[in-house]
Each structure stands twice: as C-alpha cells, then as structure tokens.
Symmetry: C2
Subunit: 542 residues, 2 copies
C-alpha cells in the first residue's frame, strides 16, 4: 500500500525558488573575475537563472544535453548551473587544473554543446577549441565592456548573450532522478570517469550537508565556498546555502591568502570550506601580517587530510572551530565530518585535537563499512583497517557511459579505494589508499602512518613507504627517505626511532636514502614510479 | 537522461539502523506507564524492533496491513512503530482523547488487525472491543508481572508476546512511497479522515525538521517529545531524533506540570515540544514551586497559537528560546517555525516577542501561499489575508480511501482551512479558520483578531465573533460576549473600546451578551452552534 502524500519531485530549481521567495534579499557577493566586488541577491539570481534557461532553450539546448563550464565561483557560474537545471540539462564542471589532454578528452566524452568560460581560461580554450568539435559556441562570462579580442569564431560575452531573453519562463518538471551535473574524476590510470549527479541526489545531499553535525548552517550564516564549483560539486554549497537561506560569498579567481582573508572579512563570512592548501596560505598570510578573523566561526577542511597543527592553529590562535571532512567526487561529495558527539564532548583540547585528525562521522544516508579483500566486514574498533565502502542516495552507483563497473559491488556499496579505520564511536580515519597499503602475511600495514612518523624525525625531509616482494610474507615495507640538506640519518638510527612507536611487525624491513621523491602535478607522491624503481629490490630479510 | 547515483530508497528503518550503528549507546529514557524510569539505547531499541517485526510476521502481519496503537510516548511504542515499518505495515496511531464513536469508527475504517494498548487505556478497549471486529488480538504494552486481569479473550502482555521472536531478521525493502503511518484528523463535520504518511515523506520531513532554523538539533541534544506519538506523527521526533543521533526522553502517561518538569530535569533535556496547554501547566508548576530549568535550551510550541505572554515568560524568566510552530496532521506536521532570520535578528526583546506571535517561516520543501476564494494569490505584505495553501513532499495529497477530495486543488496545493497573512520576510501568521472568517463586501474580517481584542477588555470573560447575514454586505460581524461575574459591559462601551484599534469597516455591527459560550471537547468555541443560534438575527444596520 502506498502513502497518500503529494508527488513533489526533489528538483534543484526548487531550491533557488525557495531562496528567492523566503530569502529574497539575501546576498551573493562575488569578487568578480574582472576585479570589482559584485553583489546580487537570491531573488535576482533566480530571475537571471530563468533568463539563462530561456536563452539556452532558444539556442536549442534541451533535456539531457551537457554544457560545460570552465569557471571560478561567481554569481554568473551559479546562474548557469540553475539555468541548465531548469531545462533538465546538465552542468558539466571542467576542472581547469587538468592537463590539456584530459580537458579535451572529457569535453569530447561529455559531448558538451556549449562552454561557459571565465576570462582567465579563454586563452586555454582558444588553443584547445579545434580539438573539441561538439562545442557549438563559447560564452565568455563577462560583459561587452570587458570582452577581449578572441580567435574563437562565435564567442559572445555572457551579458550580451543573456540580453536575448527575459525571465518569463517556467522551470521544466521531470523525474527527480534526472541527471543534474557531471564531474569527472581522474584516477592515476585510465581515462577520467564522469560522476553524473541527479536532482534527487543533490537535494538529499544538501539536506544532509545542512544538518547540525555536518555544516550546521542556517539563514543567519554567511558561507564562502573557497572550494571551487569545478571541484566535487562544490561540496554542495551552491545548493545548501540557498536551501537554508544563508548568504554566499564567492571568492572568484583569487584564492591566495591575502585575497581569501579579504573576502572573509568584507563578507563577514561565518562558515567557509576548502582544501588544506588554501588554509595554509591563509594562515601564513595572517601570521605574517598579524591579522585576526572578526567574523569566521567555522571552517570545513577536506579534499586531503588536515594536519593536526592546522586544526590547532585555527582553534587556539583564531578561535575558529575546525570540521575535518572526507568525501569524493563520487560521494556528492560529503561522506563524513569530524563533529563532536556526546562521547567526545568532554575531551580536553589536546585530546580533541587528536580526535580531529580523524575524518569523522557520516550523516544519515551515508552507510559506511570497512572490509577485507573478500568483502568481509572488519571490526569497528579504531585499529583494524579495511577498504572503505559506502552506500547512499547521494553516492555514485556507476559512472557516465557505464565506465568503471569494478568500483561497484553486488551489495550496492561503492569501493572508495581508500583504506580506513572506524572507531567504536563511529569516527572514520583514512589510513591509506588501497593500492598503496602493504599486505604482509594477510595483515595490512598503513604506509601513511609509517610516512607520517618518518617525517617527524629531525633528519628527514620526505619519506615514502612501499611494499616490496618477500618470499615468506608476500610483501614487506621498504622505507624510502630523502634526508634534510646537511643531515645524514642512518638505517639503524631511523629503525631505532620507530621502536615503541609502532607494532613490531610494522617495522620496515629496510631503509634506503634517495635524493628526490617523484610527485604528481598536484603534489602527491608517485608511488607507482617508486614501486617500478624498486621492483627487483631484495630485502635483507628475504 | 537520468543520473548515475545509487538507488537507495528513503525508508524509515534506515533511520533506526543509522542511530544503532553510529549512536549505539545514545539513550531513550521513559517514564514507564507502570511507574519507574526505564532506560534503553538506540542499539537495543533497534534489536527489539527487529524482534517486533519478526513476531508480527509470525502473527501473519504483512506489507500494507494496518495495526493500531493506543499508547503514550514510550520506548515500547517506538519499537512497535519501527517493527511495523520494517515489514511495510502501517502504524495507525489512535488518539485516546477521541470519543467512543470516533475511536470505533476509525479502527473499523482502518481495518486494524492488531491493537497495541497501554495499561491506561485497557478498560476503554474492554468496553469497545465488541464493536471492532477486525481486531484479531490486543497486545498490552507491559510485562507479565504488571498484566492486569482482563475481559479481553486473547490479550497478551507485550513482553511475553515478544519472547516468541529473536532479532535475527532483515527489514523488508520496498518502494519508498510505501505507506508508513496512518493518523486520522477529526474535523467538526463528517467522519475523521486518515492521513497516510509514506516512508519517503517521513524521511524527508525528518531532514526538514532537523535543520538549523527548524528544530536545529544534533547528536548532543536530548529531546523530549511531550507531544504524543498519537498526535500528528509526534512532530517527527521519533524519526528526527534518531536521524541526528539525539537522545530521547519520553514522558509516558504523565503530562502534568510537576511530571514534565521532573523529566526535563532528570533527563537533562535540551529541546522539547508540545502544545501551549502543556507549557501552561509547566509554567504554573514552576512558578508555584519557585523552580528553574537547569538544562532546557529550546521549546517548540505548536498545535494552537502560542500566546505572547507564554513566550515572554520562557524567554525572560527561564532563559529558554521559544520556537512557535504551525502544522497539521496533513503536513507531517511541521509547516513553519518562527525562527530568527537576519532580517529580524536585530529586534529588541519586545519587538522580537511581537514577532514570535507569528507562526513563522517554512523550510525548503514546504511551498506556501495565501489566496482568495478564486485561488488568486494575495500579497505577502503582512496585512492581506487569504486561505493558506501548502505543497510539498511531506504534505498530504489525499486522504485514506480517497476521502476529502475537496481539500486538494488542481495545482497540487492542499487547502489547510486556515486563513493567514504572510509578511515580506516570509513569516506566516494564522488569523482565522476559513469557515469562521467573515466576508463583508468581498473583503475578509478576521474573527480571531476581534475576539482577542474583546477578551482584553476588563469586563469581558469570553468573546466570540460570527458573521450574520446582511442585505448589502453579505455578512457583517456580530460580537457575542460573556461578561465577567459582577460586571455589566454595555454595547456602546465595547464598541467605543474598539475604536482606533481596528479598521472602521471591521467594527462589529452589534454586540449581544449571553451567559455561556458552547465549547468542543478540546475547549474550542463551537462557532457552528453559535451560528445556528443567531441564524435569523437582524442586525441594526440591516
């Protein structure tokens, strides 16, 4: 028997309708790419989104079409999202930090019909355009006055393009499972894979994100997503903020410490979110200039592990609460936030900082488990670690065009590729990437833990741990170290330093010293290259 | 094109799964109907709910079956809800405050197969049972020790009944639109009508309820729903609390001031919710005994308009924040909460108390409009009033067995039967019931406003305003007054008192003095009876 409640599909456009009706004057303040600060409201943003939808329809964009954006966080970028959503078309956020080949590949794979581009990236597109034949037109997110000369045949400034439509338009209505957004995730091997968010997943995810123990945001907040709209669905903030009626501050193209600080202050931002690198720059700037934060209450830090020292500085020096978060493009992206539960509310500051190194607790709607390689669940004791798998209404169930089926189990769980522990209070901590973990005699050894310990040694500049073949244990850890300039750590000294800090069977079987560790474009250690280099290495224990 | 996100139906049982896994030791503390305080946890409650489901299945209860509860807020009542939900069966909460005829009628209309009943109501059921032929068995929510002698043929104590099942059971999975709960709403005319909540509507509603500007609750809250589980879906708290991991305190059968106060204190309750009558009793008790509240932070007041004086007392004397709320059985029930928005955050205390007389702002997912009789929308200016209509995923789209179709418009909006204003900041205020409003020359006059003014007059004990036929204006207001004992207010004195307080055309055309105003069982003025009595009344202006 079905209930007798209304059929009211969860569509993203209803979020901006709600914001425009209930919070019409709430502001969206942007550092425009052209330079000046620009302020609009949810009522105006909705009106212009309706115009975008009408203008897109005039162009011939229809339900299911993909349209690319290569753009910073601005009010115009948001208008384009909602305009597309109002037709059942799909915002495809292209990450400008990707390489040439990747950008061309994903635009072609997505078969994007239009591209909305910020001034910053126009030269890039001029170079790539010949290789992207599905693009019918490039719309430059600026006005006539700021439109530069361009080699693109029919490029048009956004504000001119938009003049051809008024806001007398009704959002299309359709199945809430209709695709809303497309975001590619690039692994270390193979082509990028597209995650295709739905209207339903975006709305449910915004509900999750707004909860007390997640972002905990309401109409009196001013939220600045420093995390770009092209990165993992902007951590939902383009939906969560208008859903709860919070004001938005958009940092535009400038993400350096001084610029972020300025926007936090002039926007009176209460809540902000970004990766650790951004906060490293902000903290550096504030320390150098002896500045303080007058309005900021909370900062959400994710995308990479947040070091304890960073949390400590925010909490102790700036009186800002840190919420360490974990998520992926495939998880919309919020999977966990390290909120304080009754079980952990009485911790003193040092113990709390230790806790906050963990990535935290999932909200309702994110099921989470850790398993061994045969999908048997591992204990939630804070010590055992296993492959992290997740399930929920805002988690990918497949990739665009059916790629990457190996990531999805028969039980509906998505294999994140991360290795993690879960403690009895439900706090999850990432301990490794599954492809990096060392499997010794059926037990797993976390390379990240060993590396973090090594770099705390006074003579060590950088460290990497990889598994090397072993006749008895299958694999054993090899510790690779780049010494600090002028220092000469020894094998024996390093191994002695590990004693009492780790379980005996975690002890690296050997230590080698090299001059440089290879990195990816985004600064991560290229373990694959190291594994290739040390493939034939014979351990003294072998 | 559809998104590629997981198919993860929004089922209520996933809420208790989440609570049991992430908040296993969070407590549910009940003043048991037998007397002593009883404490359990979400982990244990889930385990026993699984047993309930298994035991119900053993009885033969299946998907779509209705099962009645006539019970207070206790852990056992919650177990029965979740157990039924886990089969796709339907918890049908019967309001024990209804009259004999109504209870019998709705149990028969629902075709309830079983009845779970608290000790309190056993004598009632013994009297009614012969008239309720669909009931196969009555299960008394107690243990063998407390089981009284009963004339019911096969009644069994709950704890004995439950012994026949362990918790080795898997929740059924089904369409999220499956019916979850049934709650009848009794109008002043005709039979009660059943609202049939779905799993989807309950889950979405819990997401709404948990938001910052609604209940704003998280895992560190302790929530006491004084509002009964048999009243309007318990304001979602049996779902919202476990969804966010908040502890629960259940008041059981004792809702008097002293008992509620005791539970607030021993349970260290931070958030509570009930109708104004309950808070009147609590405030009276605290004043008489010179008590204060050590833990309570917020109180949600709804079900009837919350008087300004009550809000003032909570805020000024007890330092408790009041959230005035509005909703109906048909709206799951939360429609609005009077939260403080940036537009109203700077009000001084008196202006804020004035604001809090309004019922407040809807969350995302409650669309709200006011219309005239031809469904034309009226301005959101805080003055114009119209029929309040609502639309959303947790709002009824019809009644059980297709009754009451006249309440649902072609545009999908449900006509609440209330008349309200909406101000430019989105705050809604109920001004009347649609059937009571007076239509004078095409304009509407609020009877509640006129009555509230009248009872503020020192000589007036009670007042009612009804519309009386008028040859020119269709209807004009007649003011009916019960004077205070020993006082003799005059027609002229009362009308003079109204001057400058109301618009000229709202002025009652006549005043009559009577000895008693008729009331319903729940204390509301029976305007229908008054209208019958004064049907032929000739106004002096006619």
């Amino acid at each position: 028997m079905l209930g007798s409640m209304q059929n009211w599909p969860l569509l993203c456009t209803k979020i901006i309708d709600h914001a425009a009706l209930l919070h019409p004057h709430r502001t969206v303040t942007t550092r425009s790419v052209e330079g000046p600060i620009h302020t609009t409201t949810y009522a105006e943003l909705r009106s212009r989104s309706l115009r975008v939808a009408k203008r897109l329809e005039k162009h011939g964009v229809k339900y299911g079409d993909r349209v690319a954006t290569l753009a910073w966080n601005t009010w115009r970028h948001m208008e384009v999202w909602y305009g597309l959503l109002g037709l059942g078309a799909i915002y495809h956020t292209v990450n400008p930090r990707l390489f040439h080949d990747q950008i061309v590949w994903i635009v072609n794979d997505a078969e994007d019909r239009l591209l909305f581009v910020d001034l910053t990236f126009l030269p890039v597109i001029e170079k790539y355009i010949a290789e992207m034949p599905t693009l019918e037109q490039v719309i430059v997110l600026t006005d006539a006055e700021h439109m530069p000369a361009t080699t693109l045949p029919n490029a048009v400034p956004y504000e001119e393009w938009l003049k051809d439509a008024d806001d007398d338009f009704a959002w299309a209505e359709f199945d809430e499972n209709t695709a809303a957004g497309l975001c590619y995730t690039s692994g270390t091997t193979g082509h990028p894979k597209g995650v295709l968010y739905s209207h339903r997943s975006n709305v449910i995810h915004a509900f999750q994100a707004s909860q007390m123990d997640m972002f905990g945001c309401g109409s009196r907040d001013v939220i600045m997503p420093v995390v770009p709209m092209f990165h993992a669905n902007c951590w939902s903030l383009a939906f969560t903020a208008p859903m709860v009626g919070a004001a938005l501050v958009m940092p535009g193209a400038k993400l350096d410490g001084a610029s972020v600080y300025e926007m936090l202050q002039i926007g009176k931002v209460t809540l902000t979110a970004a990766v650790p690198t951004v906060w490293q720059m902000l903290l550096g700037h504030m320390e150098a200039k002896k500045l303080k934060l007058d309005h900021l209450e909370r900062v959400v830090i994710g995308g990479a592990a947040c070091p304890r020292a960073m949390t400590e500085k925010f909490e102790k020096v700036y009186d800002v609460r840190v919420a360490h978060a974990w998520g992926m493009t495939e998880t919309s992206p919020l999977g966990t936030i390290c909120s304080i539960k009754p079980e952990t509310a009485a911790l003193d500051i040092e113990a709390r900082l230790d806790l906050q190194v963990k990535q935290g607790v999932p909200p309702f709607g994110v099921e989470m488990k850790i398993t061994d390689d045969r999908n048997v669940e591992r204990p939630r004791d804070g010590r055992a670690f296993g492959r992290l798998k997740v399930r929920g209404p805002a988690i990918a169930g497949g990739y665009f065009k059916g790629m990457g089926k190996e990531n999805f189990g028969e039980d509906g769980f998505f294999d994140t590729g991360d290795v993690a522990t879960i403690d009895p209070n439900g706090y999850m901590q990432i301990t490794d990437r599954a492809k990096d973990v060392i499997k010794s005699g059926g037990e797993w050894i976390s390379t990240i833990d060993l590396e973090n310990l090594a770099i705390a040694h006074p003579d060590v500049l950088e460290a990497a741990v990889i598994g090397v073949a072993h006749p008895k244990w299958d694999e054993r850890p090899l510790l690779i170290i780049v010494p600090k300039p002028g220092r000469s750590p020894t094998r024996e000294g390093i191994l002695a330093y590990y004693e009492d800090k780790i379980a005996k069977w975690w002890m690296p079987d050997d230590v080698v010293f090299i001059e440089e560790i290879p990195h990816t474009a985004t600064g991560k250690i290229q373990k694959m290259t190291l594994r290739d280099r040390f493939r034939g290495y014979v351990l003294p224990t072998a």
